[in-house]
Amino acid sequence: MTHPVHPVRQGGLRRALRGNPLNLFALALFALLCFAAAFGPLLVPHDPLATDAAAALQPPSARHWFGTDQIGRDLFSRVVVATRLDLLIALGAVSLSLVAGSALGAIIGYWGGVLDTVVSRLVDVLMAFPLFVLAMALVAALGNSVINVVYATAIVNLPFYIRLARSEVRPRRALGYVEAARAGGSGDWRILLRHLIPNIAAPLVIQASVNLGWAVLNAAALSFLGLGVRPPTPEWGIMVAEGARFIASGEWWIVTFPGLALMLAVLAFNLLGDALRDLLDPRLRR
């Protein structure tokens, strides 16, 4: 049987949701995250920075839902407030690499030649470093700040977008509709902008949505090691790092709740990425 050619068909979204209850779960999770990011700081019961020595290291209770940390800060408030920062870092990094990487990849894929060779070689070099190691070194080199975490995350992901865009553009250069556009008087830039880039958008967007989860993880891992976000800013990675010192003595909640928040955020993005893939990639559809 031939597959439908057009990627998005009417009712596809509804079918994707109905076909897999996990997708609905992911959507709900995503909505919750967005809500926490947008309104969290206004709604939390405690000041995320307020310390209270008397209430230090308390297990979860009715007053402190997630318990308190070693200097008595309310973990629930801190976990909720951290959402905005963690999501913004990931979103910023991924949009940067999506835009820059896709553009560069599409350009070298379309024209090929020396530029292609040079950029591809550079990509090889960047990809020779384990991602996390490179991100670490970049933050260290650029300076220990939040915005540099965004840049570092964007840079280490750039090669993937460049490669993907390049490999998607390449075979399409010889496609009938591209040659027809050329025969119809379109120049290279117009072909790239009107015919190629819109048609390779789907795989790139899928890549980006899966990448968001990774970016959240990456940022949290960096701050876990003391890079990027600094205490006392509420941030999931830092909170886990702070809790790590107390895990051996049994204070499990300091690690668990920010860790869980982190996991749920990553899970939401990964599931959404899968759902988007089901929706946009007709090759995988049955």
Binding site: R121, V125, M136, A137, F224, L225, V240, A248, W252
Partner: protein, 335 residues
């Protein structure tokens, strides 16, 4: 054989690029290492200048790079400011700890992931398949450092079934004579079963943490590759010729599906090298990752440089192995 040679040659520009990037990255590190090195209030500006000179920091950048290249060619990775030791020696001491952990974790992950992926692919839509999907999705969503800490809580604090997560070996045990630096192998060589058991015991939790992280991509790729292969036209031909199901699955499908799985293995191995840093921090593992973290915190650039180089070189070597294995599996590769 000449194909392997050509492939080796093609790694050279990448390796050179790695050296350049590493060099540049560490040169833009904030803070003057000389100032740090000479961070003794008693030192004068002249002393600092002297230190700069001995470190070669007063030269123009390209000359520094040439000196760096020259040193590198002699196996000299510089000297650590924090420990005062040659970086190469420091790494030689720590590398086996990291390598042993990563290899065990990798073996663990592969031996679980491949059968799991196969089981899912042979019955798509079955309960096994759904379970595998769940594991895979959860697996990629688990931050290594959180899983590690939670595992410590559950298996050390609550259950008490693993030793305290500090280092490679119980401090009351004597290390076996150092041959390979791999405690397990050295213990085997020394014929000391107690040490072997203790070392494995100590490694279990960190290795499991890392394996959990690698499980997802491997399982996912095994499943996808196997499903794709089972649906391909030559499988249909084999079925129409009446070949038995076992032969079709093993000889026809599995070998073909292995190709993308091997490529993924290479990627996963590289991911694990990166994840090493986090796991070593969590489990106080005396490997190169933990050393690298310390050097970043101390703005100690020579070890960081060395670390990046070693990582990249390892990655390039792993890729080389992947390419060679691929060429063995698939006669088309390289044509």
């Amino acid at each position: 054989m000449s194909r392997v040679g050509l492939r080796l040659l093609s790694a050279i520009p990448t390796l050179f690029g790695v050296v350049v990037v590493t060099f540049l990255l560490t040169r833009v590190l904030p803070g003057d290492p000389a100032v740090f090195f000479a961070s003794n209030p008693a030192m004068s500006a002249a002393d600092i200048a002297a230190v700069r000179e001995t470190l070669g920091l007063d030269q123009p950048l390209y000359q520094q790079f040439l000196i760096y290249l020259g040193n590198l060619a002699q196996g000299d990775l510089g000297r650590s400011i924090a420990t005062g030791q040659p970086v190469a020696a420091e790494f030689a001491r720590r590398l086996p700890a990291s390598a042993e952990l990563t290899c065990l974790a990798f073996l663990l992950a592969v031996s679980v992931a491949v059968p799991l992926g196969l089981a899912a692919a042979l019955r798509p839509g079955s309960l096994v398949d759904h379970a595998v999907r769940l594991i895979v999705t959860l697996g990629v969503s688990m931050p290594t450092f959180v899983t590690g800490l939670l595992m410590i809580y559950v298996f050390y604090v609550l259950a008490g079934v693993v030793p305290e997560p500090i280092g490679r070996l119980d401090p009351f045990l004597f290390e076996p004579a150092r041959v390979t630096g791999f405690l397990t192998i050295d213990a085997l060589l020394a014929g000391d079963r107690q040490i072997l058991a203790a070392a494995l015991h100590q490694m279990l939790l960190p290795a499991a943490t890392m394996a959990l992280f690698a499980l997802a991509p491997l399982t996912r790729m095994t499943r996808a590759a196997m499903i794709a292969t089972l649906g391909s036209e030559f499988i249909r031909t084999a079925r129409a010729a009446g070949l038995s199901r076992g032969r079709i699955v093993v000889v026809y499908a599995l070998r073909n599906a292995l190709l993308p799985v091997v490529t993924t293995m290479g990627m996963v191995f590289s991911y694990m090298l990166g994840a090493n840093v986090l796991v070593e921090r969590v489990f106080s593992w005396p490997g190169i990752g933990a050393f690298a973290i310390d050097s970043i915190v101390n703005l100690d650039y020579a070890p960081l440089q060395g670390f990046m180089l070693i990582m990249a070189a390892l990655f390039i070597a792993v890729n080389l192995v992947v390419d060679i294995v691929s060429a063995i599996i698939d006669p088309r590769v390289g044509h």
